[in-house]
Amino acid sequence: MSEGTLYDKVWDRHKVTTLPTGQDQLFVGLHLIHEVTSPQAFGMLRERDLEVAYPELTHATVDHIIPTADQSRPYDEDAAEEMMSELEENVREAGIEFSDPNSGDQGIVHVVGPEQGLTQPGKTIVCGDSHTSTHGAFGALAFGIGTSQIRDVLATGTLAFEKQKVRKIEVEGELGDGVEAKDVILEIIRRLGTEGGVGYVYEYAGSAIEDLGMEGRMSICNMSIEGGARAGYVNPDETTYEWLEETDYFQENPEKFEELKPYWESIRSDDDAEYDDVVTIDADELEPVVTWGTTPGQGIGITEPIPEPESLPADKQDTARRAQEHMRVEPGETMEGYNIDVAFLGSCTNARLPDLRRAARIVEGREVHDDVRALVVPGSQRVQKTAEEEGLKEIFEEAGFEWRNAGCSMCLGMNEDQLEGDEACASSSNRNFVGRQGSKDGRTVLMNPRMVAAAAITGEVTDVRELPEAEVTAQ
């Protein structure tokens, strides 16, 4: 069993008791809710005549169903309007703070929490969304939960949970040009498998991780769940503290910053912490990674050949065959040159400001390919606003991208942004499951945001390293 890791320390600080099931009852420091997975939980509370126990530690936003084009109310789609109204009523009744679209703070739940300083090191953070692992970038213990568990957290401020093992993933060295955090995590999932992390929490460490800004760390922690790990984290450091200091919460409560810093320092993994497993990855070796299949673990370097199903472990062969059929790719070929119909720059993995800035540098002065429908969906209203002030919107629009309002959008196709028929999409999101982007014949190729920009321009999967960056006028 691990000892002295951030995970152990945060767990111990939040443990209320051990339940008769052998699970621990954990206190939840921040409960984030959104419109898709919470209404049923509020319904369960009403059925049992229970109230929200810790409304001040709960925060709501709307992201999954919100239209990203026309957001005037009532929404065009009745079901979306109903879910939004339900959320509005629930938060009003319970006195829960809501980053609604009129606040200028709305956005994808995993973008909003960190922006406002709600996400902090050493907190336990849960949300009815599997990408809650994102918040681990700050040294929080953050994981996704189901709706019955949302009910538990609403009703009690706690959760029944089993302690897991800790795997340290050390990424040492330096990332090459054109290689990003997204490539690191796609590579990790490819090596360890989509199930490799089941039963584990991932601690990301090593010089390549320390060199990343908070956004890159978030991209990595975000996709922990794609590797089977329910949570992933990075130990807090000066990069973390610099981000926190700028957020609303610490701008409004500067004294809190000094007050909490010793706590943040105290929960860092000890130098001699014990792990259940350690994996090392050489950052210098990596190249941009793209997926060729229908699970995030089916990735390859952009210059590498798509594997023969027979060369894979026995239990992966069948899935690989079906995936190659669905994607219409041939083993032995590379993904370079794969035709793209749609380019989606968005999602809680890669729709933060630096993501859009980097992609804009590829797009600037170029034009979206005639056969490509390209859209940028900023992760939050704040990202959107700053990007517009910096002139990024103009760059994207001049190139032929649509510039949208904040939301999950085509990451999961719950609003009007969906793939049609068998369209192929270069996507900066995190899941390439069949049907994920709204069409069951749709084909998703996951990649980093600069690679998405490159694909939008050329109309095919392209090694972004071969596309020189435009002179940077935007900043």
Binding site: V16, P20, T21, F27, T37, R48, G146, G413
Partner: protein, 213 residues
């Protein structure tokens, strides 16, 4: 009203019924319930949308899928392969299966959040190795009316003349067998200790901690 005390939580130490084989690894939650069916504020009507895109084509005509087959319509035990339920945390997935009629799932392995969500509904997710599962799937295929008996407590599954050992996660087994899988009431009874834990955490402001009831 006395709140959660009214909720009766049954013990799930034994589940029986006929089986339905769902073959394939890495069947994700988007396949179990496509996102477009999640635009609902209750789970009530989800059963008919289970595996929807695997069951119907564009014109809503039926495709080959066990959930469409007449002989499996009364089945309540699903037999699946590895990493079943990977992907999102949507409880809509087990809710849809439960409302279709599934009471228990036997498989090679399950995604963690999915298994947790099943537990919250009192649905056991028990595991066995690849060979055992394949044999079981074949048997179910040949015996669609055959009875499967899952003994959660002793970790066995009986079918035909066979009894096989399966694995049930310790916490899951205890929760099901003792009838404490619905944790709300249990955890609510510790409200005092919860407040104490909160008070010890430097980031929790005292105003955020509710007064004792």
């Amino acid at each position: 009203m006395s709140g959660t005390d009214d909720v009766e939580i049954p013990e799930v130490d034994y589940v029986s019924g006929s089986g339905v084989p769902i073959r394939g690894n890495d069947i994700d939650t988007d396949q179990i319930i496509p996102a477009r069916f999640m635009k609902v504020v209750t789970f009530d009507g989800l059963g008919e949308f289970a595996f929807f895109d695997l069951r119907f084509d564009e014109d809503d005509d039926q495709k080959d899928h066990p959930f469409n087959e007449e002989r499996f319509q009364d089945s309540s035990v699903m037999v699946v392969n590895s990493n079943f339920g990977c992907g999102s945390s949507r409880e809509h997935a087990p809710q849809a299966l439960m409302r279709w009629g599934i009471d228990a799932i036997i498989g090679e392995s399950f995604a963690e959040i999915f298994a947790g969500n099943c537990l919250a509904l009192g649905i056991p997710t028990v595991t066995a190795d690849n060979e055992t599962i394949q044999a079981l799937q074949d048997w179910v295929d040949e015996n669609p009316d055959g009875e499967l008996e899952i003994d959660v407590e002793t970790e066995t599954v009986s079918y035909g003349s066979e009894t096989i050992d399966v694995t049930v996660d310790d916490a899951q087994r205890k929760a099901l067998v003792d009838g404490v899988w619905d944790t709300t009431a249990l955890m609510k009874s510790n409200a005092g200790a919860v407040r104490d834990t909160a008070r010890e955490l430097p980031y929790v402001e005292s105003e955020a901690i509710p007064e004792a009831e």
